[in-house]
Subunit: 333 residues, 2 copies
DNA sequence: TTGTATGCGTTATCAC
DNA sequence: GTGATAACGCATACAA
């Protein structure tokens, strides 16, 4: 495999000149430029980025850590990140953490090992303290899920308001018995969604029935389990707000298995608006996050941190939207 | 950030010795080893992989090119690849090609630029010729989708047999009017699935009605469109075999919109057994690929190619399975 | 406008 | 067992 030296010899110039041509330096006679280009072509030369990056102490590579590519929620976010990255000469490296902190540290090490210029977390597993420490030495951005008080930049939506609106939507449809399927993880967004739900109930002076409170893991099965338990009782809610679409769909399935029809006998609201929310029968009323925009914003923030090491941590909140579909309808009086 | 030189000075040894310690060389007195380790710890030293990889002309990084992380089908495959990679000291870099050949070439360039040791394609967009040429210079493995006659290793299932069995299942349930929703892409697997379907019909001397033949893009909407058109006619099939689960789900939705119930009035078989296939109501009869195993096999093959540059191209066919669920039932007589 | 020389951080060869 | 040093491929400061 040809290297820059061979190209130089073949073109009859020095390696410096070849390097200049490769880097679009204006100080090269167009004639020599041609010579170099033809040598490059002739030899099928491909610059070795290891050498280049070592010399530049920059890789133009950004790590994107996500819990799982099985979750379709992340696809559009990643697309947004990628587009901004590519438009700025960067590549991104997607890394599956499996929500495993050890696996996450494995990838963080690649950053510390100078194989990448920065890291975007879609759902950080490490603690706020670790995150803070990391961000002191390297460009770090959190996207969607984030650790509060870590003093680390993040892009997100207002989860509190979103949950508040979702719950209020159910209340305005006449529902008074409203269950909540939350999660027992320690993400701030979870707490915020829970609080938004409580706030709406409070505002309308609706009592919160603790029996209707459930905790899942964002996945389908936990929704199904919650639904199976909850809907077996006579005193069951007429509506459920689940903080993820997959859990909402699990609830609907559990309802169907008990002969309870959605939305006739039970209204269900999800969260995230994954593509399947629209494919599902009944289609799902849910909160839509501007995922592509969130990804774009996160990568732009990353570039700012890379180019300006002293760029201060900042928090970006983008607009969400309540999407009305078939899974909710007015309560029977 | 400390480098190997500073560690050496701090420990009072040469850089060579530090390097030996880092690489577990047996020829180091345990006493000096301790000194070096404590220096490493004290200085918070992290080896720079750019320097190491440049010197070693090896990165222990493998590219995995997939059309889209939005497709849940790939998740388990990637998991299989990752597990084998990590167990062998490799990392993988996931790259979204968006089924775009230019984007794919962008990532292939990273390989040519020595930033990775090899590439695994989950659905190659470049031509067989390009693939062949690439594989002559670099370790290349195809996984699931592949270009035939490229002389490039691949891991897959027997798509012909799988489709044959899926169709035969419908025939044995008494269906004689069986539609096929295929795709108009140029993947060999598509042709093979189509041929499997034809073979089954032939074997049972069932005429193929070309009006019931459709071509989608593997996505939900194309399934819905096919279903909407097909099921509007009086002369409609009693069963449909779709070569992807998302298309199958689209067909079911279209049927529901026309008051046609699955499986009572229409049986539907999908392909791939994505997680929605199980969540969906009705749950989907489909072909399950051993996705994790496929990923594992692909990465093992990659390691073989990396470690043995002359390792011959080989073709691995793993076992599929027909999964029976709610979306199929006996034809009404 | 071009060439020479140096260094990025590491590993590997050789000598001791 | 350990150290000195060349080499990996490239970009760049400086000289010409």
């Amino acid at each position: 495999m040809a290297n820059i030296k061979e190209v130089a010899r073949y073109a009859g110039v020095s390696v410096a000149t070849v390097s200049r041509v490769l880097n679009d330096s204006p100080n090269v006679k167009s004639e020599t430029r041609e010579k170099v280009f033809s040598a490059i072509k002739e030899l099928g030369y491909q610059p070795n980025l290891l050498g280049r990056n070592l010399r530049r102490t920059r890789t133009n590579l950004v790590l994107v850590l996500l819990p799982s590519i099985a979750n379709p929620f992340y696809a559009a976010i990643v697309k947004g990140i990628e587009d901004v990255a590519h438009n700025n000469g960067y590549n991104i490296m997607l890394c599956n953490t499996e929500s495993n902190v050890e696996r996450e540290r494995l990838y963080i090490r690649l950053l510390k090992n100078k194989l990448a210029d920065g890291v975007i977390f879609l759902a950080p597993q490490i603690s706020a303290d670790e995150l803070t420490e990391l961000s002191l030495k390297y460009p770090v951005v959190q996207c969607c899920e984030y650790r509060e008080n870590a003093g680390v930049s993040h892009v997100s939506i207002d989860n509190f308001m979103a949950a508040y609106e979702a719950t209020k939507h159910l209340i305005r449809l006449g529902h008074k018995k409203i269950g909540l399927l939350s999660s027992d993880n320690d993400f701030i967004s979870t707490k915020q969604r829970e609080n938004g739900y409580r706030k709406a109930l409070e505002e309308y002076r609706i009592m919160l029935n603790k029996i209707w409170l459930g905790f899942g893991d964002y996945g389908y099965n936990s929704g199904y389990d919650y639904g199976s338990k909850l809907l077996g009782n006579d005193d069951r809610p007429t509506a459920v707000f689940a903080i993820s679409d997959l859990m909402a769909i699990g609830v609907i399935k559990a309802a169907a298995d008990k002969g309870i029809t959605v939305p006739d006998d039970l209204s269900v609201v999800g969260f995230d608006n994954i593509s399947y929310a629209y494919m599902h029968t009944p289609s799902l009323t849910t909160i839509s996050q501007p995922r592509y925009d969130i990804g774009e914003a996160a990568m732009k923030l990353m570039l700012a941190h890379i180019n300006e090491p002293d760029y201060p941590p900042c928090s970006l909140i983008l607009k969400h939207q309540l999407v009305l579909r078939e899974s909710t309808q007015a309560a029977k009086s």
